[in-house]
């Protein structure tokens, strides 16, 4: 609605490509906008891959594979699994930091992930319309250049806050191995007594994994559904960066 239309009618926004004139048959012009810049797309896929690795290895750390026989010197299975988990954790954390940096450097849609417009009335109105669309109470959703308000709600509270929680608890647990005085311990070690001890942090970190898995389920489903049914493209936007609209109607 009102927060969308300025976005649409503001090709002056930094790095947002001017609306190219589409096929001009009968005055129709199907709009395509450059929304997600290369670093955002790269981050998205690196993040997705590291989440997959983190979930699989994390699950196997909590519930290890069946016992191997032979001499312990012949195997390093748990060691390898933990190494993959820590390596993917570092990639996840560094990617998250890079993504924060890009929020300052990139275009307006790069900032969207980190802002939750709690005080913006139009956001809540848009959210209401989007919920109605998902409840089949509306035959047609609104148009959005960036994320729709429902997506933004989940992205902020699960991906941003959730990632921060997983990075914080993850590095706190990692600091138990690196030991007192390590930078991981200095930066994150305080989280362990705060959340009630090592075992509680393990459990919360484990539950956090399941929250992220639920998010991925909903995310993949809604992206595919939106790509088919909404008024703008989804999958192309996160692969080549361009989002196209299927109609030229307002909002």
């Amino acid at each position: 609605m009102s927060d969308i239309s300025p976005a649409l009618s503001a090709p002056t926004a930094p790095a947002a490509a001017p609306i190219p004139e589409g096929r001009a048959a009968a005055g129709r012009r199907l709009t395509t906008l450059y929304v997600y810049e290369a670093p955002v797309r790269l981050w998205h896929w690196v993040n997705a891959l590291s989440i997959v690795v983190l979930c699989i290895t994390g699950y196997l750390i909590g519930s290890p594979l069946p016992t191997l026989s032979g001499e312990p010197s012949a195997h390093y299975l748990m060691g390898t699994i933990r190494f993959l988990h820590f390596a993917a954790g570092y990639i996840f954390a560094v990617g998250f930091l890079g993504r924060i940096a890009w929020a300052f450097l990139g275009n307006r849609y790069a900032r969207e992930l980190f802002t939750f417009p709690f005080w913006r009335k139009s956001f809540w109105r848009g959210l209401f319309v989007e919920i109605q669309w998902y409840m089949f109470l509306k035959t047609r959703p609104l148009k959005f250049v960036g994320h729709n308000p429902l997506a933004q709600l989940f992205l902020f509270w699960v991906m941003v806050v959730g990632s921060l929680f997983m990075i914080g608890t993850g590095f706190a647990l990692y600091s138990e191995g690196t030991g007192m005085g390590s930078w991981q311990d200095t930066l994150f070690g305080w989280i362990i007594p705060l959340l009630g001890g090592s075992l509680s942090v393990h459990t919360l970190h484990h539950l956090g994994m399941w929250v992220i898995i639920l998010f991925v389920l909903v995310h993949v489903y809604s992206v595919i559904r939106e790509d088919i049914m909404s008024r703008q493209s989804m999958i192309s936007a996160i692969t080549n960066g361009y989002r196209s609209f299927r109609d030229d109607d307002p909002d």
């Binding site: 699950y59 909590g62 519930s63 290890p64 594979l65 069946p66 016992t67 191997l68 026989s69 312990p72 010197s73 012949a74 195997h75 390093y76 299975l77 748990m78 060691g79 699994i81 998902y134 089949f136 509306k138 035959t139 047609r140 138990e176 191995g177 030991g179 007192m180 070690g189 305080w190 362990i192 007594p193 009630g196 001890g197 090592s198 075992l199 509680s200 393990h202 459990t203 484990h206 539950l207 994994m209 399941w210 898995i213 639920l214 389920l217 909903v218 489903y221 559904r225 088919i228 049914m229 109609d247 109607d249």
Partner: protein, 374 residues
């Protein structure tokens, strides 16, 4: 004039030779993780410093800390430290009893005001004005506050004093409360464990008496020298953990071969203590060495954090069923969400098919009107 005696004099009085005394000093230095250059420093301190009295109070507890303490593997530590404490006050170990014993408490408190160390075993229950634990006719919490007022520092012996332990486990009917939540204005050293290792206890006391300062503490107030690493970090079964070799069930092949106890619920990876290095009973063994996983007795709330025989904690305390753990809750939620998605997708497809049918029968203008109406 017991108050002016030095440690060394007390030792000599008990028939300990100088040679044994120096041996004790070097062993203590090693136990505290100090280099050999500290041996003369310890000896010097023990020879010259008048001893600091220790008052040992007992609240709600099982006396396992005392039992552990008097079994300190190093006999000299026991003889020296324990005899000096019993000179002052420890109601389960001292010879005197009743009014006589309580009188000693008052006397020491007055004579060494601000200079004695208070060691607390157990914790005060706060419900019903503390009536669940009465010492000398008065609630323990009153005695604790009274003695703590003029103490130089407080040692919380064991998990009871440090964290609350079993009497503070849910639902905690007596409101048993760890010492640091009652005594707020004194430095508190937590020495958790149920019980703590004897050498850890004597080591902490010896450090405080010789160096006249608190040991370096971690974020949770535990001496770093004994609680800076997990059982897991120094466990002799660790190679089996890294290799992926676990005891799947007690008495299986892996158990006989001494594989890692992770899968049968060992809490070594989440427990900070010195068991895997110091071990127990003169270094004879420790739980993992005898084939049972660590139960995490030196961790806060270990009674309330699920089975001692399961790797993943159950979540009954936070409103889930007794069998629920993170994976079961997560998989159930994933099932519900997955089912929801399937239903939603089906309805979406149905709606879309209907919508298309309607579209084919109507003009584009109709479609636009519909869109605006939506």
């Amino acid at each position: 004039m017991a108050g002016l005696e030095t440690f060394y004099e007390v030792m000599r009085r008990q028939g300990i030779t100088r040679r044994s005394f120096l041996k004790y000093c070097s062993l203590t230095a090693a136990a505290l993780g100090l280099g050999p250059e500290f041996v003369p420093e310890i000896a010097h301190a023990m020879e010259n410093k008048p001893r600091t009295p220790v008052l040992w109070l007992h609240g709600l507890e099982c006396t396992c800390c005392s039992e552990s303490f008097i079994r300190s593997a190093h006999p000299l530590v026991k003889d020296v430290v324990l005899s000096m404490i019993s000179l002052d006050y420890d109601d389960t170990l001292m010879a005197s009893a009743g009014h006589q014993a309580e009188a000693i408490l008052d006397e020491v408190m007055e004579k060494y005001k601000g200079n004695y160390i208070l060691a607390v075993e157990g914790n005060p229950p706060l419900n019903e004005d503390g009536m669940y634990c009465i010492i000398g006719g008065k609630p323990f919490v009153d005695q604790l506050k009274k003695v703590a007022k003029d103490a130089k520092a407080v040692i919380s012996w064991g998990s009871c004093a440090s964290h609350g332990c079993v009497q503070a486990a849910r639902p905690n009917p007596t409101r048993a409360t760890p010492v640091h939540e009652v005594i707020l204005d004194k430095p508190i050293i937590k020495v958790p464990g149920c019980p703590p290792i004897a050498e850890v206890m004597t080591g902490v006391i010896t450090y405080m008496l010789t160096f006249d300062r608190l040991p370096e503490l971690d974020r949770q107030g535990r001496p770093k020298m004994f609680y800076s690493q997990r059982i897991h970090d120094k466990c002799y079964r660790r190679p089996h953990f890294d290799a992926g070799q676990y005891v799947e069930a007690f008495d299986d092949e892996g158990a006989r071969k001494g594989y890692c106890l992770y899968k049968v619920g060992c809490k070594g990876p989440t427990t900070y203590n010195a068991c895997s290095t110091t071990r127990w009973n003169d270094g004879v063994s420790f739980p993992i060495q005898s084939g049972h996983g660590c139960i995490g007795c030196s961790e806060d709330g270990f009674w309330d954090k699920g089975s001692w025989y399961a790797r993943l904690t159950d979540l009954k305390g936070v409103g889930f069923g007794i069998e629920a753990n993170a994976d079961r809750v997560g998989m159930a939620a994933a099932g519900v969400v997955g089912g929801g998605i399937a239903v939603h997708a089906a309805v979406s497809a149905l709606k879309r098919a209907r919508h298309k049918d309607a579209d084919q029968q109507s003009t584009p203008a109709d479609h636009n009107n519909k869109g605006e109406a939506a």
